[in-house]
Subunit: 199 residues, 2 copies
DNA sequence: TGACGATGTATCGGCGCGATACATCGCGTG
DNA sequence: CACGCGATGTATCGCGCCGATACATCGTCA
């Protein structure tokens, strides 16, 4: 999941770890709290060893004195060709984990790079998942309400409300996708996500 | 976190793992998906080794033929005295992890065993946490809106809406706590969670 | 009789988190 | 000028939790 997010961001522009974390936080801030460095750096290492990203030592590496105080410079990461292939594959492939909170958030955040058919598939899968959760909550509130205390009931009701709202939100998005209108501020070429254009 | 949930449930009645998972799912279903056995059983083992719960071999253990087909019977778990102490400590202690989705859900689900002061502290801490998330989203939507594509914006707006709703929900709960009304269906003795009464 | 789904216990690899450590840089203040 | 302090920046470690997997029992319906 994080792999997808990193590749997606690095596809827009090269970055170093700290920057990456900030972008990750603003882009995914609606669904998850904040990515930990204890996750980020090992993942970057993994992606580098897999050949999906490459380092690109920045600024003063060519300048005068590199090992004066054993300088640990910033490491700028850049996506590779294999990385771009992997990204398009990950964006198109939909497993069960695509529909839980985490996975859906990441996929949705990169919808601008996804074709319309996949967008619809993901939105409908998410809707189905949330509807299941909603039905579970309705069952509990209907059948087992007297077994539960006031607070647990309040929690269930709040969860049910959140589910209903999200389903409505998804319905709107699905209707909009079906209507076939292009997005106004879409700045990737529609229909093909690896066609050209890497500045 | 899971430790708290298990102790809380076992405090009501002894159970075996499978049952525990089902109860856990209905009680916490609003906030988290479903607890995995790969989490549950190691945690039970840990709690048992720590002396917080004890096994209690059920049904046919005293009957005729135990090792006929090397029967692996159900294991019923029961909370110990140390476990109850630990539970009251966990319910009262509030760290930063008490206020994120997971931790708040668990604490809230056992509010019936928590005294009013702690309830208020947790509700207000949660509100503060959500307000921070809300401000972060407002900042992004205000300052960096033109940098983001339509989908990311839609995600942020939906997240912002969810935050505002949760804050309102928390306000209501806080007001209700402050009003001092007792909960109608509260079936634990108020004010003291380890006073007596274990049937 | 035998297949199937629900019940039930358990392990394993791996991901993600919080805590922690360490180094550099710009800036304001004494 | 020196000094600290917060922001920037890279990195590791232990551990909680997850999904996948395996295996055993029970009731039931064909």
């Amino acid at each position: 999941m994080l792999e997808l997010a990193i590749l997606g961001l690095l596809c827009e522009t090269p970055m170093h770890g700290y920057e990456l974390r900030k972008e990750l936080t603003t882009k995914l801030g609606a669904f998850r709290a904040a990515i930990s460095y204890g996750t980020l750096y090992p993942t970057l290492r993994r992606l580098r060893l897999a050949g999906l990203i490459s380092e690109l030592a920045d600024d003063d590496s060519a300048a005068g004195a590199p090992p004066l105080t054993s300088r640990r410079g910033r490491v700028v990461y850049k996506i590779t060709a294999e990385g771009k292939e992997r990204l398009t594959a990950l964006l198109a492939c939909t497993g069960p984990e695509t529909y839980d909170d985490e996975g859906f958030g990441v996929h949705f955040a990169f919808f601008a790079r996804t074709d319309r058919a996949t967008r619809l598939r993901i939105l409908e899968g998410r809707r189905r998942r949330i509807e299941e959760r909603r039905e579970g909550l309705r069952d509990v509130l209907g059948r087992a309400a007297e077994r539960l205390d006031t607070y647990t009931l309040a929690l269930q009701r709040h969860g049910l409300d959140a589910c209903e709202r999200e389903v409505r939100w998804l319905e709107e998005l699905i209707a909009h996708e079906r209507s076939g209108l292009p997005q106004p501020t879409d700045h990737t070429p529609p229909g093909d996500s690896r066609s050209g254009r890497q500045p």
